[in-house]
């Protein structure tokens, strides 16, 4: 799709018309919310879904459901093929070498738990797990609890003043006892790309395993797990315009081989008698129980849809909207941004105004933004804040959404300040 033809604003230095999203009409949810008077600016929490995904979800159920990897019958075979086709698509989306390196979980959180339990035997008391100060609870708690179970040391990498993991300090803190490093690619609070290349290199130099939380990052631009060079990459479907109930875990083959099986049952086994069993390797060995079949198939439709878009046009659109969001926030008195956001979102506080009051009044005006600690309580505490507001963008948002947000913000601040 040639976006310049659809939207002349991208081709000109001055912007004669407001930013529009040529993809907005593909998302019935954003249109329904708009019709209801709701301006949705919380895509970093979960995204609206394209019509193609809704069609796939209905199509699977309406066409006849069947379980996967079990039966020889035609419906079962059809479901299995569609299910496995999504695995291939995910592998292509992330540029994984082999589809068997992709494990479907129920959520990104479950994928982190799988790693923390599956790798538990690799750690000895006194070993160190390194995380960053900006991790989402999903990438903090499983490791924190593992550290408590196995008497490990949890090392937390501090941030610099821009909200980036401080590499100089990381170089000091990552050492010979470091067995695993896990870090977010794109912060869900600060909206900043983290210096992963340097960071992963520091961990790899110590022979440590590396985990990347791609939950936010995977939604913006295309990422190549092989180029990234991490051992594991975790993300979720529902932020990537797919259905909820599906998390994705990529692992390098050698890294996957280090995982112990952690949930048991269903078709994850090779053989069992009453007393003992042997299990399949990844991916199926880590997908115990009936997986979210419909959701996985529908994720395939979302990825098809995303693949059909002009990636450069999407990035340009997101960047233009983000610039407008930042400049609008910076123009307002007393507004303080958290960190230096690069893309997709901005979190902020307003001097002398409680974030809960602002959230209350924005919500009264039909503005759906996130308020609070954003599942990163220690990060907010570290910044000396009880909470903040976060505006986050999807590819369907447009300048009119931001105008509604800013006018609601001005009205709310007039009442509160």
């Amino acid at each position: 799709m040639d976006i310049a033809a659809l939207n002349p604003s991208y081709g000109l230095d001055c912007l004669p018309m407001p930013i529009q999203s040529p993809w907005r009409a593909d998302f019935p949810g954003i249109l329904a919310l708009e019709a209801e008077g709701q301006t949705y600016l919380d895509s970093a929490a979960t995204a609206q879904k394209p019509q193609a995904m809704l069609d796939a979800l209905l199509g699977y159920y309406a066409g006849g459901a069947a379980n996967v990897h079990r039966a020889q019958h035609v419906p079962g075979e059809r479901a299995t093929r569609a299910f496995e086709a999504t695995r291939e698509q995910v592998a292509r989306w992330l540029n994984a070498a082999d589809a068997q390196q992709i494990i479907f979980t129920r959520s990104a959180t479950e994928a982190f738990n799988l790693l923390a339990y599956g790798l538990e035997q690799q750690f000895q008391p006194g070993d160190e797990i390194v995380i960053s100060a900006l991790e989402h609870h999903a990438n903090l708690l499983p490791w924190q609890q593992l550290a408590l179970r196995r008497q490990l040391k949890l090392v937390v990498l501090p941030l610099d003043s821009h909200g980036l993991i401080d590499l100089a300090q990381a170089a000091q803190l990552i050492g010979p006892r470091t067995r695993l490093l896990t870090a977010s690619q794109l912060s869900n609070v600060l909206g900043s790309w983290q210096p992963l290349a340097s960071l992963l290199a520091l961990a790899q130099a110590q022979g440590a395993l590396t985990v990347v939380d791609g939950s936010q990052g995977v939604v913006h631009g295309r990422h190549d797990v092989q180029a990234l060079g991490c051992d594991f990459y975790v993300c979720s479907s529902h932020k990537l315009y797919g259905p909820d109930g599906v998390g994705l875990l990529y692992g390098r083959t050698h890294a996957l081989e280090q995982l112990a099986h952690w949930q048991f049952g269903g078709e994850m086994l090779l053989h069992t008698d009453y007393r003992s069993a042997s299990f399949r390797p990844a991916s199926l060995g880590f997908e115990a129980g009936t997986p979210p079949i419909a959701a996985v198939i529908a994720l395939g439709a979302s990825l098809d849809y995303l693949t059909s878009l002009d990636a450069r046009a999407v990035s340009a659109h997101e960047a233009a909207l983000h610039t407008e969001l930042l400049s609008g926030l910076q123009q307002r008195q007393g507004v303080h941004l958290l960190g230096t956001p690069n893309v997709a979102l901005a979190s902020f506080v307003v001097e002398g105004v409680h974030h809960a009051d602002l959230a209350h009044l924005l919500s009264e005006q039909g503005i759906a933004v996130r308020a609070g600690h954003h599942c990163a309580m220690p990060l907010l505490q570290g910044l000396g804040l009880n909470g903040a507001l976060r505006v986050s963008l999807g590819l369907y948002n447009d300048a009119a959404d931001l105008q509604r947000f800013f006018s609601a913000l001005d009205q709310a601040l007039e009442l509160l300040q």
Partner: protein, 137 residues
């Protein structure tokens, strides 16, 4: 069931409210009337957990009557707390235990503040109030 006079006044003013702005102003006025708690009262023991904002709730017994005091660092939530206290304070325990508080907020046109979302402040306050009443004998 008896409605305390100040609660009736609240009901009258919120019923006459037109639009979100007027409602917000009124809510903040009610919140401004709330007596702040002392530093020692704003301790962990009285803290209502599960709120995005800081909220404290205390119960005091005088004979069969129960008196609540509450405060929050957020202004609009302070208003909601004031509207809660005006409804519950001055009632005997037996009547308190039967009170339909969600209905009270619905009558005020503020039902939306009782969303089932985990981070919601007012809902957590009501739950805490029930716990305090249940453990009160």
């Amino acid at each position: 069931m008896s409605l305390p006079a100040s609660a009736q006044a609240a009901l009258d003013s919120f019923s006459a409210c037109q639009g979100w702005e007027q409602r917000a102003r009124l809510l903040m006025q009610w919140g401004d009337q709330l007596t702040p708690l002392s530093d020692s009262e704003r301790g962990e023991d009285n803290r209502v957990s599960g709120c995005e904002s800081q909220v404290w709730l205390l119960i005091e017994a005088t004979g069969q009557y129960r008196q609540f005091r509450a405060y929050s660092d957020a202004r609009l939530l302070r208003g909601l707390l004031a509207l809660l206290l005006v409804r519950v304070n001055g009632l005997p325990l037996t009547e308190l235990q039967q009170l339909d508080l969600p209905d009270w907020f619905a009558q005020l046109g503020l039902a939306r503040n009782l969303s089932p979302s985990r981070s919601n402040g007012l809902q957590a306050v009501l739950t805490r109030m029930q716990q305090l009443l249940a453990s009160d004998d």
